[in-house]
């Protein structure tokens, strides 16, 4: 898979060509001709020094691209290219930290427009801690979630906040700051992870939170986290995110679609409902894809959650002797229930996982909607605008 990269672009329709960004850029990435002001993708280091001085907001545009647009491309533009909805930055009140805002916007881009929080969601706290002023947590536990035989190493990390107030809601994200410097002597950049615990901790009324982290080859932060030992101190920033949240109204049906560590926020969602509204729940449905049962995080604990609270649909793509089965295939099997859900004005849908899953899920919804005589795009846009459709992919 060709992993898309994030590219920084300037909206030529909003830019007034004051060149303030060019003055602010410390690496000479921003240039202009008589037509446009443009960003050289090979030089931009995402330091964000250009963001605050821009008087127009035109500077704050991001695209996920397989091949970055060249300077020549950008100089010729009269407007941003077609994917214009891709990566709009509007994360409500959370858009204080520019780096995080950009990353979250990119993660939420798959929803096809600016995300909104569910109407009945609790009000999140955001940006309480930063890289400059981190919260210090202590590792309480580090457990491998995938079987020893599985080809992936996914870990459940519990972080104790001690006496530090670090209020989170299910679905929010925190930043982990790996210690040390990179090859060029600069401090390692913060990485974002969804919390996988509910707001009141791993057990009710404990001031801790959990992360679900997969070890990536050569990943600075993921290896750091996966190697953490009990008692180690960890620097945290955040919390971040003010839209990918659970409706507080327990009567709302919730549909959750994920792969791999994309299950993290849904663990939090499920535990929250379990603790507060196990009997009055409007129903939760989980579509969960992995290579095999052995590599599916929380496979064991999930089995113990009653079907009455959470309907579970697993899809495995690498089980010997079986056809490859993806999460969208599982969705198609449940098309009648999903079509019903799409017409229910209470339904909230959440998608979380790798970017690569987006297209398949989108296609499945399109087919299911068409089968029910609906237009997916308009259903989706209406749901999103009322805070009921959420995508977080990376």
């Amino acid at each position: 898979m060709n992993q898309p990269v994030k590219q920084h672009l300037i909206d030529p329709e909003i830019c007034i060509r004051c060149h303030t960004c060019e003055e602010a850029c410390t690496v000479g990435a921003i240039t202009h001709d008589s037509n446009n002001v443009v960003v050289d993708a090979s030089k931009c280091n995402f330091c964000m020094d250009c963001i605050a001085p821009c008087p127009t907001g035109s500077i704050d545009n991001w695209r996920s691209v397989e091949t970055p647009y060249s300077l020549e491309d950008q100089l010729s533009w009269g407007e941003l290219p077609q994917q214009a909805e891709f990566g709009s930055i509007d994360d409500g009140a959370a858009a204080v930290d520019d780096i995080v805002a950009a990353l979250l916007a990119e993660a939420h881009a798959g929803a096809g427009g600016a995300a909104k929080a569910p109407a009945s969601a609790a009000k999140p706290s955001v940006n309480l801690f930063s890289t400059a002023k981190p919260a210090i947590a202590t590792v309480q536990g580090n457990y491998r979630l995938t079987a020893d035989t599985a080809d992936s190493d996914v870990r459940h990390i519990i972080l104790d906040l001690g006496s530090t107030a670090f209020p989170v809601l299910e679905g929010q994200t925190i930043g982990v700051i790996p210690p040390g410097n990179d090859a060029e002597g600069r401090p390692h950049k913060m990485r974002l992870y969804s919390i996988s615990s509910p707001r009141d901790g791993e057990r009710p009324n404990t001031n801790n939170l959990s992360l679900t982290v997969k070890r990536e080859p050569h990943g600075v932060a993921s290896n750091y986290i996966c190697d953490l030992k009990k008692g180690d101190k960890v620097q945290l920033a955040g919390p971040y995110g003010s839209t990918f949240l659970l409706p507080d109204d327990a009567a709302t049906p919730v549909i959750m679609i994920c792969t791999g560590t994309g299950s993290a926020p849904f663990r939090g969602f499920t535990m929250r409902r379990q603790r507060t509204a196990a009997t009055a729940s409007g129903g939760m449905t989980l579509f969960f894809g992995a290579r095999s049962p052995e590599s599916l995080p929380y496979f064991g604990p999930l089995g113990k959650v009653p079907e009455k609270l959470l309907k579970k649909h697993f899809a495995f793509s690498r089980v010997a002797g079986q056809e490859k089965h993806y999460v969208q295939d599982q969705m198609r099997l449940e098309k009648a229930a999903l079509a019903d859900a799409l017409t229910n004005p209470q339904t909230h849908i959440y998608v979380c996982g790798l970017k690569a899953m987006e297209a398949g899920v989108e296609q499945a919804f399109e087919d299911i909607a068409r089968g029910a005589g609906l237009s997916w795009k308009s259903v989706r846009d209406a749901m999103r605008d009322s805070g009921r459709y959420h995508v977080e992919t990376y």
Binding site: C18, T20, A24, M48, T56, G57
Partner: protein, 483 residues
């Protein structure tokens, strides 16, 4: 070592110039401060001093610290003295001292010249606040009201910047000049502001947008030239001011653009194709494009007059002394002394407008004016893109540089917007086609009704494409406090 990136709030006046250890200047500024607050309360935005305005305040001069947004009452805005970080081993970029270390103290031989330049620049800053003080009452939205107030408080801060230089480097003379900056008033009979355009009134919001686009752009070009000064404190002051000035350019360009957009949309909705069908278009409650063009003609040409005479000994002396450079001086590839260089300057010879090569040193004003025209043309092109997209056939144009001029070689002749020389009689007969008439002004005035509901906009202006500080469309940019 003090960290000159961050701003000290331990004194009454936020600053990154170590005021707390410079007792003389701190005292002088603290003595000047009450007069400033009096001036702001008396001559600043009328009727909104108690309202909470969502403003940006600099808490540092580095990119990450200088734009912090929050609600603040304008009289409590933290006006401060902020200089861009010092560039190590900066050199004088032009004139006879080119290449020598930049001055950290005022060079005695140029003291009078420097003081004059700083006073003229300083005088324009409070002037525009005075000119715009009545506009809040007719704001077409809370968004626009907030932008107006942001411009106003930053003009106030620019005054502080110049006053700091006067107090710090010019002793008793400087103190007197600083007091006079609060004594003169825009449009006053006995003590008017120093430059003509800053004594004109700003009667309506289209005038305000045109003013910020065209007249503040002259300010930008002047700041750009002063940012090239060999006197380093002036250069650093102006460099930081330019970052703020960009917001003023933005308010002007998008303001005019949104008026144009709304007019074109309203014409389309009503099925009117002809932009000259003025009565029908005005009946829609929007400003017809030909009238917008007339306003453009007026404000552009008033602003051209601010550049002074095409050929100027004063400008040559300032350049030669290294006190004031050209636009983007350090990016120009020449000797930066202009010993043998020439520059083409407009002249009127035998009833024809021609350009003749003159020594470049004497044509510094002309060159800056040309740079200004290029800069101003960019936005006009983008306004035309807005019109084009709606399918209306009309093109905004900058008039010829000789049209409607009072100062310089064109001051003595009459020229139409296309650059044709006219007799006085022809000018009198046709000037109402090119410049706004009283009736045009009355019509615009008739549209100036306040729209203060969050997220709503007056009918003659389109909403902005993005909010300030990424705020959503219905954000309450000003929390009104009505006595």
């Amino acid at each position: 070592m003090t960290d000159s990136m961050s701003v000290a709030y331990d004194t009454l006046i936020p600053n990154n110039v170590g005021l707390s250890s410079d007792k003389r200047v701190l005292k002088a500024l603290e003595r000047w401060h009450p007069g400033y607050i009096n001036w702001w309360n008396g001559m600043g935005p009328e009727g909104f001093q108690e309202s909470l305005v969502y403003l940006r305040t600099a808490i540092g001069v580095d990119p990450k610290g200088w734009a912090k947004f929050d609600y603040v009452k304008m009289p409590e805005y933290r006006w401060g003295v902020l200089l861009a970080p010092q560039v190590e081993d900066r050199r004088i970029p032009c004139g006879e001292h080119v290449g020598e270390p930049a001055w950290q103290e005022v060079p005695g031989e140029y003291r009078a010249m420097l003081r004059r330049l700083i006073v003229i620049q300083g005088d324009t800053e409070p002037a525009s606040v005075e000119q715009q003080r009545h506009l809040g009452k007719t704001a077409p939205s809370l968004y626009d009201m907030r932008n107006l107030f942001q411009v106003n408080v930053e003009e106030g801060r620019h005054l502080w910047a110049m006053v700091y230089l006067l107090h710090k480097y010019f002793g008793a003379d400087g103190r007197d000049e600083a007091d006079d900056l609060l004594r003169r008033q825009s449009g006053s009979e006995e003590a008017p502001r120093m430059l003509g355009a800053f004594n004109e009134s700003t009667p309506d919001w289209l005038s305000f947008f045109m003013f910020t686009y065209f007249t503040d752009r002259d300010g930008k070009m002047q700041l750009e030239s002063l940012a090239q000064s060999g006197f380093d404190p002036l250069s650093r002051t102006c460099r930081f001011m330019l970052t703020e000035e960009a917001h003023h350019m933005f308010v002007g360009e998008t303001g005019v653009g949104r008026v144009i957009q709304r007019t074109c949309e309203a014409m389309k909705e009503a099925g009117i194709e002809d932009p000259y069908d003025i009565d029908r278009i005005r009946d829609l409650g929007v400003i017809d494009l030909p009238t917008i063009q007339k306003k453009l003609n007026l404000h552009y040409t008033l602003s051209l007059d601010l550049f002074g005479s095409e050929i100027s000994t004063n400008a040559a002396n300032a350049f030669n002394a290294g006190i004031k450079g050209r636009y983007q001086e350090v990016k120009i590839a020449d000797d930066h002394r202009l010993t043998n260089a020439t520059y083409p300057v407009v002249q009127v010879v035998d009833g024809k407008i021609i350009r003749t090569e003159v020594p470049a040193l004497s044509a510094i004003n002309m060159r800056l004016r040309d740079d200004y025209t290029n800069d101003a043309a960019g936005g006009v092109g983008r306004w035309n893109t807005i019109i084009e997209k709606t399918g209306i056939k009309f093109e905004m144009k900058l008039p010829h540089g000789g049209f409607h001029r009072q100062i310089g070689v064109f001051g003595a002749v009459k020229i139409d917007p296309d650059g044709n020389l006219l007799t006085e009689a022809e000018w009198q007969a046709r000037k109402n086609e090119w410049l706004p008439t009283k009736a045009d002004g009355d019509f615009i005035q008739s549209l100036m009704k306040p729209q203060w509901e969050p997220g709503k906009y007056a009918g003659w202006i389109a909403p902005p494409r993005v909010g300030i500080d990424n705020k959503p469309g219905d954000f309450e940019y000003v929390q009104l406090h009505m006595a």
